[in-house]
Structures are given as C-alpha cells and as structure tokens.
C-alpha cells in the first residue's frame, strides 16, 4: 500500500496527537503514585515557575497599560471613562492574562523542556535511566507536569494583578480614583469569569508541558535534531494555546 505525502502527514499528525494525549494521561495518573520525586518537582517548579516571573510581570504591566490607554481613548467621548477598570479586568482576567502569560511561558519553558529531554535522548541518558530501572515518565515527565500545573495558574493570576495595576496607572492620569476603578470590576465580571481565568492557565500549562515533553522524548538526529525539536515544540504549543483558548471560551459562554 502506497500512501501519498498528504496521507502520511495526516497519519503522522494523528499519531502525534494520540501520543501527546497518551503521555499526558500516563504522566497525570502517575501524579498520585510513588515514587514522588519531590526534589525534581522543586527544581522544576523553581526553574519553570519562578524563572518565568519577570517575563510575566513585564507582559502583564505593559498589556494592562496599553489596554487601559486604548479603552480610555474610546470611552472618553461617551464620558464613560469610569468603566475602564472593569473593561481592563474582564479582558485581562478572562483572556489576555492567561493567554499572553501562557504564550510567553510556551516560548521559554517549552523550548527548555524539549531541549533538556531531547539532549537526554540523543546522549542515551534516557536509555541509561531505563536500564537502571527508572520509570522515565514518573521521573522526567510527571514532576514537570506537576510543577507547571501549579505554576501556570499562579503566573496567570500574577499577570492579571500586575496588568490591573498597570491599567490603574493610566486611569489615574484621567482622574479616576482607586475606588472607582475597583468598583467598576463587579459590573463586568461574574464569579464564573474568575473560574475561567483559572481553568485556562491550568489547561494551557498542561498542554505546553505535554507537547514539550512528547517532542523532547521523541527527538532523533543528534544535536541538530534537538534544536529542531525545540523550535517545533514552541510553535506547536503556542498555536495550540490559541486554539484551545477559543474552545474553552466557547464552553464558558454556554455556562454563562
């Protein structure tokens, strides 16, 4: 049976998709199994989580400021500048906070995870670990997944908070008091929106980690292969974040 190039690409795509989800499931249910590898978890949480604070801080600050600036310009003619707080809050907490912080993290963390695991593959360190009797998903994937599932929502919340602060810096210039800025939040945000703002980064964190781990563990072709794999992981995880964001937003609209 001869397959056309398109058939083969499609086949490969579905095989990879299946691979990512299978690995994701295997890594997830190992969260509840021993050995726990707390030390690896702590190292990864530090590297992936704490290491991403600066980048998320800057993302939040400038996005919040530019959003507030644009809203203020739009709202000014209608004498509705008092709504700026709520508008910044709703866009940041539901959409931009989770999505932008995840995209930044996808670039930083996705490439780091892929390169690290890919290097371990091409230098046979993963094989050596397996021979020593280690379950490599338990040892290499699960600690990273745990770290990111915890870190990503925290990073998103921090990004949200910093962006609201940035938004206020702009609003203050238009003579809006802190209380007015804060009180407008309730007019725009419903409790479910906060849930959306937490569920999304959780999903994105899992997605980025699993794509990066899968790509890393399936690296071939030496040092060159590692570079190519890292690039692929970043591109695929960034696009997936945006696609999954749309579907999650759609689901939350249904529950509104």
């Amino acid at each position: 049976m001869r397959l056309s190039r398109i058939d083969r690409a499609a086949l490969r795509f579905f095989a990879d998709l299946q691979g990512v989800f299978l690995l994701g499931w295997q890594a997830f249910h190992r969260i509840f199994q021993r050995p726990r590898y707390y030390r690896d978890f702590a190292i990864q949480f530090d590297k992936l989580g704490f290491g991403s604070i600066t980048i998320c801080f800057l993302t939040g600050l400038f996005t919040g400021m530019v959003m507030a600036l644009q809203f203020l310009i739009q709202l000014k003619p209608f004498a509705a500048t008092s709504y700026v707080g709520g508008m910044v809050a709703v866009t940041m907490i539901k959409e931009l906070g989770p999505v932008l912080s995840s995209l930044m993290v996808a670039g930083r963390v996705g490439s780091a995870i892929t390169a690290e695991l890919g290097t371990m593959i091409v230098t046979e360190q993963v094989d050596a670990m397996r021979v020593e009797g280690t379950d490599i998903i338990q040892r290499l994937v699960t600690p990273r997944l745990k770290a990111m599932l915890l870190a990503m929502p925290l990073l998103a919340v921090m990004t949200d908070a910093v962006s609201l602060l940035g938004g206020y810096l702009m609003a203050a210039g238009y003579g809006i008091s802190p209380t007015l800025y804060l009180s407008s939040f309730t007019q725009f945000l419903f409790p479910l929106d906060y849930v959306e703002g937490l569920v999304k980064p959780l999903a994105f964190g899992g997605l980025i980690t699993m794509i990066a781990c899968y790509t890393g563990l399936n690296t071939g072709g030496g040092a060159e292969g590692v570079g190519a794999a890292a690039k692929r992981a970043v591109v695929i995880s960034s696009v997936s974040v945006l696609m999954v964001d749309f579907f999650l937003a759609k689901i939350f609209v249904v529950f509104r």
């Binding site: 360190q125 050596a128 397996r130 021979v131 020593e132 009797g133």
Partner: protein, 253 residues
C-alpha cells in the same frame, strides 16, 4: 519457545528489526552464556548498538524472541521485565552519564533510587566502585568536567554499582589513546575474573581478541560468523576476510 526457567544466559532468536524503512537486522541469533564473554563485530552503522538495545528491551523487534535468563522479554510491557533487566548493566558508547548529577550521584543512582540502603553506606559503595576504576578523586565533579576516558570509567563504575551478572560495553575503546585502551581492557579482564560476563560491541579487533572467547560478525544486517577466535581467523567467507583485512577502509571509519 520452550526454555528451562533456570538457564543463565541471554538469547536472541531469529530477530528482525526495521526502523525508518531500513532493515537493520534480519533473522539474527545471539547467545551470551554466563562466563563466556562475547564480542559483536561490525562496521560503523551495522546495527551493533541496536542489538544491545534490543537485548535490554529498550526497543522491541518486529519479529523474533529475546530471553533474559530464560524469561522472554519480547512483546511485553517494560514494567514486566524491569526486574529481570537488573541483572544486566550497560556502558553506553558516550558514557551516557546524567549531566545534572555529580559523578558520585551518577554511580549511586540505582542505590539512591531503590532507597534501601542508608546514605553513608551508598557513599561507601560509590567510593569503592570509583576506586576500582581509578577515578575516586572525581567524586564531586560533574560529567562535563571529565575527559572522555574518565567518563567511560565512571560509566563502568555506575554499571558495577548495580552488581550485575552481565555487563554490556558499547565501543568502550573507541576514541581512546593506547593507554586508555589498555586501562579499559585490563578493567574488563578484572571484571571477568570477578565473575561478570561481558558482551562487547566494537570494530576494534585487538580489543575484541583480548577480552572475548566468542565472536559474532554482522554484515549487511545478517549474522555472517559466530564462533571462536581461531574459527574467525581461519574463516574463508569473503565478508569475514574483508572485515579482518587491516587495509579494509571500514576499520578506519
């Protein structure tokens, strides 16, 4: 396949392995008996590393059977034969030391993982193994700080820490100077005297003759020769002659 459960050997029967549209092995047989050290010879890219990985169950063949001490490992999930495999240790081509860990942590890796011994005892074992291979001062260094020959010796120490019956060596002397080669060969001899069975993969004939009693030659994905040193030297098959000729370009790859 009926095999007595008590047999102490590693066997490969009629194994075929293909990857990426290429056939690496065809109907390959191999027997590694306790106490009979073997070398697999073949040119670069012939599939020597692949054989070791198959024997360890790191990759699965398309067809054929592999047994470790009488227990089949083919067609079973890794968790089934993880214990079985602990009888075997391997020294990878590049050492494959974990570069996020110190030399000491590398050597004690399995002992730390198993967590059965107190830390002081593990350290004593680690020191003993490092002394055996002659790199004890490197205990607290990271693999990146070691030379190629030291890496190989640390990799041997790590393999020993597991107290295996069989040790696989993937081209242990490639890329070493004559003194380095001598050190590795004498280390292998000492291990054999201590009761370990070695399976080495190489294209370096003097090392092979110095450390093994049985030889397998792989040519074009098939087993071209299986026997003793005398048999190999006396063998008239063209493929074998070609491999043994010192002028053969493949020896200098």
């Amino acid at each position: 396949m009926t095999a007595p459960a008590v047999e102490s050997c590693i066997r490969m029967e009629q194994v075929c392995y293909r990857v990426g549209g290429r056939t690496i092995l065809t109907d390959f047989d191999l027997l590694l008996e306790r106490g009979v050290n073997r070398t697999i010879l073949g040119v670069s890219g012939a599939g020597k590393t692949t054989i070791l990985k198959l024997l360890l169950g790191l990759i699965q063949p398309q067809s054929g059977h592999i047994f470790i001490n009488g227990q089949e490992i083919t067609g079973r999930p890794e968790s089934d034969y993880r214990e079985q495999r602990k009888k075997i240790a391997i020294v990878f081509q590049g050492g494959a030391l974990f570069d996020s860990m110190t030399v000491g942590e590398n050597v004690g890796y399995r002992l730390f993982e198993e967590g059965r011994l107190p830390e002081a005892e593990i350290e004593a074992i680690v020191r003993e193994k490092l002394r055996f291979v002659g790199v004890e001062p490197a205990l607290d260094l990271y693999p990146a700080e070691l030379s190629g020959g030291m890496k190989k010796r640390v990799a041997i120490a790590r393999a020993l820490a597991a107290d295996p019956d069989y040790i696989f060596f993937d081209e242990p002397t490639t890329g070493l100077d004559p003194i380095g080669v001598y050190n590795i060969v004498s280390l292998m001899r000492r291990l054999q005297e201590a009761g370990k069975t070695t399976l080495m993969v190489t294209h370096d004939l003097p090392t092979a003759f110095a450390t093994s009693q049985r030889f397998s030659l792989i040519v074009a994905s098939r087993l071209a020769f299986d026997g003793t040193e005398e048999g190999l030297k006396a063998c008239a098959l063209p493929h074998v002659r070609e491999f043994l000729q010192p002028t053969d370009a493949s020896l200098f790859v």
